[in-house]
């Protein structure tokens, strides 16, 4: 019994050492990034890892802004497109899930099977056709093609349906009908509030996924006034910043900062959402 306890203690020590090492591994790259954004290029070249911030944040900002590069435009565009896509996805996925759960119609089961079947169709392998289509209708350099396709989000419909199956009692729907509520009114006023927790989780994931998306914006947007944040980021890899290490780290920090704020405010819900099987996208 004693040896079992000793070996348990040894294992526990190993567990904590490994977990702390992994936690440092997660944080360290971002720490280096934030600290180096306050250091001069010369300091970074002398010693690229420092645990102490320096005083060059302002001059890095000046270099960064000087390159005709406007992160505010990227931020606003990303906010608009991710916000729009999230609203579309959450509202219409809930509506579709409600159709699948609350009504018995002939094509219900086939439609659900269909949604499962197209769950994983990736935007990338159909990108050429999507680009050609958008080009023809003049939707390149517009945020609309980043927003409207979100109305059909199969993985979210799947998730919302699971949630509704577990929580919705049709008695509520029936009593609303007896009170004379129309079907659409019932959905908007009674069902949507019930779905709030699921909608919040899914909204976070859609927003972050849409915010981080690079491929589709990259093929559609060529006008720098329409650039989203990830495209702005990719410019930091270009020649204009080749030797301005401090400015590059500052640019990267600016794109990470809003995500950090969102993540640490909502991490509880995000982790719970992943555990519930939020699908990889």
């Amino acid at each position: 019994m004693k040896s079992l306890k000793a070996s348990t203690n040894l294992t526990k020590t190993i567990i904590y050492v490994v977990c702390i090492f992994l936690a440092i591994l997660s944080v360290f790259p971002f720490l280096v990034m934030f600290i180096n954004s306050t250091r001069s290029t010369f300091q970074i070249q002398q010693d690229s890892v420092s645990l102490l911030p320096s005083t060059f944040l302002k001059s890095n900002w000046a270099v960064f802004k000087g390159k005709s590069f406007n992160p505010v435009v990227g931020f606003v565009n990303s906010m608009l497109s991710s916000g729009g896509a999230t609203l579309c996805a959450v509202y219409f996925s809930s509506l579709t899930a409600y159709a699948l759960v609350a009504y018995s119609w002939k094509l219900r089961q086939p439609f659900f099977s269909f949604i499962l079947a197209v769950l994983m169709i990736p935007a990338q392998v159909t990108g050429i056709g999507f680009y050609q289509f958008m080009y023809r209708i003049g939707w390149t350099n517009s945020l609309l093609p980043l927003i409207f396709p979100a109305i059909a989000s199969p993985s979210m419909v799947f998730f919302m349906r699971q949630y509704l199956m577990a929580t919705l009692s049709l008695d509520i729907v029936n009593s609303a009908r007896i009170d004379g509520a129309g079907e659409f009114y019932t959905f908007n006023r009674i069902i949507l509030p019930i779905m709030k927790p699921a909608m919040a989780t899914q909204a976070i994931f859609t927003f972050v996924f849409s915010w981080n998306n690079l491929f589709i914006p990259l093929i559609l947007l060529t006008n720098s006034e329409k650039y989203t944040m990830p495209i702005m980021v990719s410019l930091l890899r270009g020649d204009i910043y080749k030797t301005e290490y401090g400015a590059v780290y500052l640019g990267l920090s600016l794109t990470v900062l809003p995500l950090f704020v969102v993540y640490f405010l909502l991490s509880k819900y995000i982790i719970a959402g992943v555990a519930l099987g939020a699908l990889k996208e």
């Binding site: 567990i15 992994l22 009504y103 499962l116 392998v125 050609q132 289509f133 059909a152 980021v233 990267l252």
Partner: protein, 321 residues
């Protein structure tokens, strides 16, 4: 009662219309269009007119005989494997540690939050950040490795094929193992706890419990993680593109990046890119079919159960009325 259900059935269709229309316009049509372009001569920036090739499969034959495309397929498979094997092993190990009651690991919530964190950061940012971190001759990783005696002289990670692939695989691993771990832990928490209690009473060690009870019951979830990771891996784009633009010497050129380069740079070969896309699409469809069967079996059983319950409730209500 039954009549009422029939009356309301039309709302099932009405409420599905936005989804179906959007899917047809923005998903199905582009998919078919991509397939069609694969059989045409469509190339050149800004061109929209095309005609079908006399030899319909020319683009496909050219792509399949293109050594760069073959190399990109190999790279995708290599990088995915180099990321997935350590990823699944580490997440299983962490899952075992976090769910074994004997260890009572404290701070699990914080560890989960920190280990999952890289997953939500923009991949484009991470690729550029790692490009700087692995800088040569001076860069944080080189500096640290030399300081801790792991390297004698700075290594040029960006210029050697295997280190470049290794770093891309490491980034993927680093971004995704936290996600796999959380999914697997949720899977373990879904296992009937009396099974573990019974095994403990019978004197099974935690290793035995993990291999004889936990692992067999995680099979479906492990398969789910495997397939979704493969489908995700086939689309690897942001990181290889922004880390080294697919270099050095195409060592980190993935299939998605190859397709992008064909269509949106150089001579704008939309037709060849479409043919390559369709080959990738086929591979993804095969994987998706496997995933579909995995999800459907579990789900249909649930669906039938719920349906039965609903009919029973409806009958009860009918009786009351």
């Amino acid at each position: 009662m039954r009549n009422k259900g029939v009356n309301y059935a039309k709302y099932g269709y009405i409420f599905s219309i936005p989804f179906v229309l959007t899917f047809l316009i923005f998903s199905l049509y582009p998919t078919i269009f991509t397939a069609v372009i694969g059989f045409t001569d469509l190339r050149g920036m800004g061109r929209t007119d095309f005609k079908f090739l006399e030899q319909p499969f020319d683009n496909f034959i050219l792509i399949l005989n293109n050594p760069t495309f073959i190399k990109s397929l190999g790279n995708t498979a290599l990088i995915w494997t180099m990321n997935f094997i350590p990823q699944i092993l580490l997440s299983l190990l962490l899952t075992a540690w976090f769910t074994t009651r004997r260890y009572k690991v404290r701070g699990q919530g914080l560890f989960k939050v920190l280990l999952y964190m890289p997953n939500i950061i923009t991949a484009a940012t991470i690729a550029i950040l790692f490009n700087s971190l692995f800088g040569y001759p001076k860069g944080p990783v080189n500096d640290l490795f030399i300081r801790f005696g792991l390297l004698d002289a700075p290594a040029n990670f960006h210029m050697q094929e295997w280190t470049a692939r290794g770093v891309v695989a490491f980034i993927q691993f680093w971004m995704w193992y936290g996600n796999s771990m959380i999914v697997l832990i949720a899977g373990v928490l879904g296992i009937d706890p009396t099974l573990f209690e019974a095994a403990e009473i019978d004197g099974a060690t935690s290793t035995q419990i993990f291999f004889k009870i936990t692992l067999p019951r995680l099979k479906t979830i492990l398969l789910y993680v495997l397939i979704t990771s493969m489908i995700g891996g086939l689309q690897m784009f942001d990181i290889p593109r922004l880390f080294l633009w697919g270099g050095p010497d195409s060592a980190t050129l993935t299939s998605s990046l190859f397709i992008y380069n064909q269509a949106f740079s150089g001579s704008y070969l939309y037709n060849r890119a479409s043919a390559a896309s369709m080959i990738m699409f086929l591979i993804i469809v095969i994987l998706s079919v496997a995933l579909f069967h995995l999800m459907r079996d579990k789900d249909e059983a649930k669906f039938r159960k719920a349906e039965k319950l609903r009919i029973r409730n409806a009958k009860k209500q009918g009786a009351l009325v």
